[in-house]
Structures are given as C-alpha cells and as structure tokens.
Amino acid sequence: MITTSTAPQRVSGGRVRARRGNRRTAGWVARRLPWWIAALVLAGGALIWVYPFVWMISASLKDQLEIFSSGLGLLPDTPKWDNYARAWTDAHFGTYMWNTIIVTVVTVALVVIRCAMAGYALGRYEFVGKKPLALVLVATFFVPTGYTIIPVVEISQQLGLLNSLTGMIVAMSGAGHVAMILLYWGYFRGIPKELEEAAVMDGAGFFTIFFRIMLPLAMPVTATVVLMTFLATWNNFFIPLVFSLSRPDLRTLSVGMRAFVGENSTDWAGMAAAATLSLVPLIILFIILQKQFIKGFSGAIKQ
C-alpha cells in the first residue's frame, strides 16, 4: 500500500516530487485514520477490561460510607490502610496467603519433577507399556474436576489426607497436568542422541544423564511449566474448597474470599482489600513476565 506511492517519487523531477509530497501527507493521514479510530475503539474496550481491577483497588482504600456516597469517583479522600489490616488479621487473609504460598510452591515443585521425569522416559525411550500409557494420558487430557472430585475426596479420607494441606497438595499435583508432560516429551524427543552417547562414553549413568545433562537443558520448558502450574495452583478453587470444608484454617485465598463475603456481606472495603491482596501479586507478576505468560498460553496451538 505504501510502496506503490513512493516508487514513482524517486524517478520523477523536483516539482513533481514537491506536489506529491503534499498529497502524500494528506494521503498518509487518510490512510492512518482508520487505524487511529480502531485504536480509540480498542482503548474503550481496554478501559472496560481493566476497570474492575481499578475499582477494586480504589474501593479497598475508601471507607464504607465513601464507597456508597462517592459514586463513580475512583480517588479516595484519604487512603484508608486499615482496610488491609482488617482483611489481613480479622478476616485471616494472612493465614490464607500463607496456605496458598505453601500449597503452590510444593505443588509446583512436585509437578515439575514428576512431569519432567515422565516426559523424559516417554520422549527418549521405548519400553513395555509405552503405547497404553500415552493413550491413557491423552484420553484423560480434559477430565473436569467436577467428575473426579467425589472419589478424590473419598480416597483422601481413607488415606487420612482429607482436611490437611498435604492432602490438598497431593491431590492438586496428581490431577491433570497432562499438557506439562507433553511439553517435556516433545522437548526431550528433540535433543540429539549424540549428546547422550558422549555422556555414556564418559561413564555417566542413567540418572546422571537425566539430572546433570537433560534437566538443565530443558530449562526453557521448565520455566513455562513452572509459570503455568503456578497460575493453575494459585487460582485453583474446587480442590481447596472441598479439602477445607471442615477446616476453615486451611483455606486458600480463593476459598477464603467466598467465605469472607458469606460472613460479612456488607464490608465492601474489607472485601476489596482482601481481593486486592490476593490479585495484585498476580497482576505484578504478569506485567513483569508478560512474554513468558503469553508464550506459555500460546503453546497449545503449536502442538
């Protein structure tokens, strides 16, 4: 589109070029205008997309009356930080935060280790039972939690793991994560076998090769897996909900939020402060690691 107008310019003489230059600016505006209009429309949309979070942060700094009286104004008169104190201690969000961190860190570690190991075995070796195993994994790719939840609770009860953070962690690292195994599988399959041969020549054993050579090589995959598992676990709701039904002190942030509102439906400022405490760490992390997030999420389409 642009190239066609610039091509004759170079060949033609001075006067022609001057005239063309004028027309070019007018044409440039005309051509760019639709894009600026599109940007304006998208900006309106983006406002809707971010607004709930801005409203939430704003409400977390107002007092109860101000939220109802100030209408749509977003800036508080004076920031009321004690909303956060109330959410942190009285509403137990300090405990919930701590539970969420423990559960997430341990689950992510378990998932990375188990998926890397399984992906390595599947990606680089032939063994008895490989086909059925792969088939089972792929077939259960999309199993919803609502389907498996009753037996999960029952078996956790029998193992003595219900109503404990350990049980929550084990259940969350055991369910799903097939995509993570597939990611490692694909990556390990692509590593040239010469590398392994050289290591064997040097006398490296099976596990040395895996832990010292293969796992460090798979760092980019591990980064994606850590990020995706972190998000899925931090945001998980169904499993923490049923594992903490009779133990309120084991609630994670996502479960605690619902309980808090169920008990104090009128404390808007406290609700907003609690929600901000739970969401802002995620939002900051996303803004810092944007590229990695987007890479992780778009992985599905390339497979």
Binding site: M1, T3, R32, W35, A38, A39, L42, G45, W49, F53, W55, L72, L110, R114, A118, A121, R124, Y125, E126, F127, T140, F142, V143, P144, T145, Y147, T148, I149, I150, P151, E154, I155, V170, G174, A175, I181, K193, E197, M201, L231, W234, N235, F237, F238, L253, S254, M257, V261, W268, M271, A272, L279, I283, F286, I287, Q290, F297, S298, A300, I301
Partner: protein, 323 residues
C-alpha cells in the same frame, strides 16, 4: 528417539565384545530406571485421576451418604433418579446453553481483535494486548466475588454508571434476577477468558508466512482482498481447533458461577458441576451415589465433546498439510 540403535552403535564403536547377556542385563536395568522415572506420575495420576474416573462408575451404583462407610448396591436406581430430576436436566441445559452462547462470541470477537493487533499499523498494540489479557491471570474465584459487588443493584459501579447515563431509572439486579443472571455471567466469562483466545489467534496469525502477503501485494491485492483471500482461508484449520478448545473450557465454569451466583437465583445459573457439588457436598443429606451418577453422565458428555475435538483437530492437521 529410541536408545536401542544408540546402544548398538556404541557397541560397534567400543567393540569390546560386550556379550549378548551383558547387553540384555543393561537393557533390563534401563527398563527398570524408566519405570522409576514414571513411578511418581503413575502413582499420583493413577490415584487422583485414573482411579476416580473408574470409581465414579462404582459409586453411581450405590446409595451412600458419605457420613458412614456403608454403601448399599442399588443398581440403576441413581440413574433413574437423575433422569427423573428436573434440576439435573436444568443444569445440563444451562451448561449447553452457556457453552453455545459464549463460544461464538468469544471466538469471533477475539479474531477481530487479533487481526487488528497483528497489524504493525495499529498504535499501542502491546498495551492493548496486555490490557485484554490481564483478567486471564487473575483468580477466577476472587473475580467472581468482586463481580457480585460490581453488579450490585444499589451501589455497584455498573448500575451507577447506567443510571448516570440515563439508560435505566432504578438499579437492575443483574445477578439476582433469573432472567439476566446467566447472561451477565456469560458476559463476565467472555471478559475473563477473552485474552486466551486472543493469544491463540495471534499465534495462529504468526504462522502465515510474510512471503505470501508480499507475493499477493505484488500481484496488486488490497488490504481487504489480502484478508479475505489469504488470511482467513489460512486460518480455517485454526478456527476448528480454537472453537473446540473454547467449547471444552466453557464446560468448566464452576469457580466463576459458584462465587458469583452460587448457581442461583432459583437454579438459573446452576451448571452441572455445581449440581454435582450441591448434591455431594453442600446438601444437608449428601447423596454421593446420585451425584456420582450425574458426574458419570457429565464425564461421558465431556468425553463426547473431546472425541469430536480429536476428529476436528485431525482434519485440521490434514488441511494444514494439504496447503
């Protein structure tokens, strides 16, 4: 890919005549190590995914309240009860309705957005991408609670805004009215997961090679023609994949629905997963057998959608290879 050729090559290299028995032993040990690597997955996945899938069938044939270990075999009675339960059919209907409404909206709107964002001529495209993706990373259950307040009929910002603009005279209870609750939830769902589908489309657009566009431009194709004759046809296989992925994820709205509406008002937003949760965990007398029967039927439905998906992806891959 496999180590069998690797080892034979090494044997030739070393040529230290490792006997067949040695080799066999090494291979045998390797098999053992492989299963050691697979053990955590087999154990965890077996206990928390495979076993529940199978156990659900067994549970669906018993009567069981969860308080006692006692389970009585009742045959197909749970299925008869589920089929006779209007609320089950209601939840099934709502799940499908939700899926059918939400998916086309999301898929088409995100395609338009991705086409705009993919153009180098659009200003601030990185900022837009960030903004539209933001809700995806946030905790659904917490967003659901916040939305209860955002849509509050008296003091929520949405109603205040609409009243100020003069669209409505009195506050509308978007989530408290059974005629609007499901559509409001659908809107929030599209808002929440818009970014994922947008990113999938952007990844799909990236697979169209620049040379194709250049060649068409040299042939004198305009922007509209480029879009209609080149971009859209090349995106067709991705349309299948993205649509089916969206169907699959629209089945999993438990977090959002339970925290935003709790399945109400009057079961107007009770999707199947909430039906299962309600009968199994939040009822005064839990009916785990009945809930399991509902879960099995739901699982079969998801399985059918997944199978459909597999066929779709297969044909999409074929179409891509043919290009």
């Amino acid at each position: 890919m496999t180590t069998t050729p690797m080892i034979s090559e090494r044997d030739v290299l070393v040529s230290a005549t490792p006997s067949a028995r040695d080799r066999k032993r090494r291979l045998g040990r390797q098999q053992l190590w492989i299963w050691v690597l697979l053990a955590p997955t087999v154990l965890l996945y077996g206990t928390y995914t495979m076993y529940p899938i199978i156990a659900s069938y067994w549970y669906s044939f018993v009567e069981w309240n969860g308080f006692t270990a006692e389970k009585t075999w009742v045959g197909l009675q749970n299925y008869r009860d589920v089929f006779a339960d209007d609320l089950f059919w209601n939840s099934f209907k709502i799940t499908i309705l939700f899926m059918v409404v939400v998916v086309p909206f999301k898929v088409i709107l995100t395609l338009l957005l991705a086409l705009l964002l993919n153009s180098p001529k659009l200003p601030f495209s990185t900022f837009f991408r960030t903004a539209y993706f933001l809700p995806v990373v946030t905790t659904t259950a917490i967003v659901g609670v916040v939305m209860q307040f955002v849509f509050d009929p008296a003091s929520g910002p949405v109603n205040q805004m609409l009243m100020k603009l003069g669209v409505i005279d009195a506050g509308v209870s978007f989530l408290g009215d059974s005629t609007t609750a499901l559509w409001t939830a659908a809107g929030v769902y599209v808002w929440k997961w818009f970014g994922i589908t947008m990113i999938l489309w952007l990844a799909a657009l990236q697979t169209v090679p620049d040379e194709v566009y250049e060649a068409a431009r040299i042939d004198g194709a305009g922007a509209w023609q480029l879009l209609r004759r080149i971009t859209l046809p090349l995106l067709k296989p991705f349309l299948i994949i993205i649509t089916l992925l969206s169907f699959e994820s629209a089945l999993k709205v438990f977090d959002l629905m339970l925290t935003m509406t709790g399945g109400g008002p009057f079961y107007a937003t009770e999707v199947v997963e909430i039906y299962i949760y309600r009968t199994a965990f939040s009822a005064t007398v839990p009916q785990l057998g009945l809930a399991s029967a509902a879960a099995v039927l739901f699982g079969l439905f998801v399985c059918a959608v997944g199978l459909f998906q597999l066929i779709g992806i297969r044909s999409a891959q074929k179409a891509r290879q043919a290009q």
